[in-house]
């Protein structure tokens, strides 16, 4: 059974580019436009890994990680941040919140897929 990956980004182009790369690698994907929708889709279940932007309206990526980790069902859910942010202190903050990875845009599809493959197979 192929893993189901949730792509959370306020840019529809990024969501489509990430989804296409993952689908070509054999994953199923869902999309969310911001952290609010992202949390809702995670709590609806059947998500094996999340690729999530940081700077988004309504609820940012780090807030999404913090909220999801409060739910015991999702303490081990792999969450990879995909963002323009590269400051080490912000990366450390995301790690402390419970994120499992950090990719700085612009992303290389092969590296993104490799990171998802490594983390998604360990969940669910």
């Amino acid at each position: 059974m192929s893993s189901n990956i949730l792509v959370v980004d306020d840019s529809v182009t990024i969501r489509e580019q990430v989804s296409e790369a993952l689908q070509q690698a054999g994953f199923k994907t869902q999309q969310a436009v911001d952290g609010v929708e992202g949390v809702d889709k995670i709590k609806a279940g059947e998500i094996h890994c999340v690729v999530c932007d940081v700077n988004m309206p309504n609820k940012n990526g780090i807030e999404l990680v913090e909220e999801v980790r409060q739910d015991d069902r999702f303490k081990a859910l792999p969450i990879i941040m995909l963002t323009t942010e590269g400051a080490r202190d912000l990366i450390a903050k995301a790690k402390a919140a419970g994120a499992n990875g950090w990719i700085v845009k612009p992303f290389r599809p092969d590296l993104l897929v490799a990171a998802v493959k490594k983390l998604a197979t360990s969940f669910g």
């Binding site: 840019s11 400051a87 990366i91 992303f107």
Partner: protein, 179 residues
């Protein structure tokens, strides 16, 4: 080595333009300020607004305040992505996000902290034409699909000096870290 904030901002901005557009289809960039300022005037006088798309994104901090504007023809933006583009308005917004995100990371290496805003996009030509007490740098990015005008309006502390902190390196564009 201590540098003037203006020099750091301009150098970081231009490097960010190079970084983003070398990845996303730019063949060369023209930093001639005469060309860039001419391009601003040319756009307002000669281009059909309905063919154009614009993005604005801002960066704010205690020591720096700036806004970047990207303007190009809609079809240029769609073609430079070299990947699926659902909407040129969305993609020019994401390009502005990539640009100022990269710029923000470079400023962080000078201990300059700032907050990146969310991009706003509109059809047509939208650039703040005056900078008041601030400064401006402008670049024309030449791609095989057409030109992209990138303008940075910025405000900085006039009496300060900034110094690069070799211990404060940001994660590289495209890097992957698994914890």
């Amino acid at each position: 080595m201590k540098q003037s904030p203006k020099d750091v901002i301009v150098a970081s901005f231009r490097q960010s333009v190079d970084d983003v557009f070398s990845f996303h289809g730019g063949d060369e960039t023209d930093y001639d300020p005469t060309v860039a300022e001419f391009a601003v005037s040319y756009l307002f006088d000669n281009c059909e607004p309905e063919e154009m798309v614009s993005a604005k994104i801002s960066l704010q901090g205690d020591s720096v305040n700036c806004s970047a504007y990207l303007v190009a023809m809609s079809e240029t933006i769609e073609e430079v992505a070299q990947a699926v583009v659902v909407c040129s308005l969305d993609w020019i917004g994401e390009l502005s996000n990539l640009l100022l995100g990269s710029f923000k990371n470079k400023l962080w290496e000078y201990n300059i902290e700032s907050q990146l805003g969310l991009p706003s996009t509109r059809p047509g030509i939208h650039i703040e034409s005056t900078v008041g007490s601030g400064a401006r740098d402008a670049v024309v990015v030449r791609t095989i699909a057409g030109d992209i005008l990138v303008v940075l309006n910025f405000y900085y502390p006039k009496d300060a000096f900034w110094e690069h902190n070799p211990d404060q390196s940001s994660a590289e564009d495209g890097s992957v870290s698994l914890f």
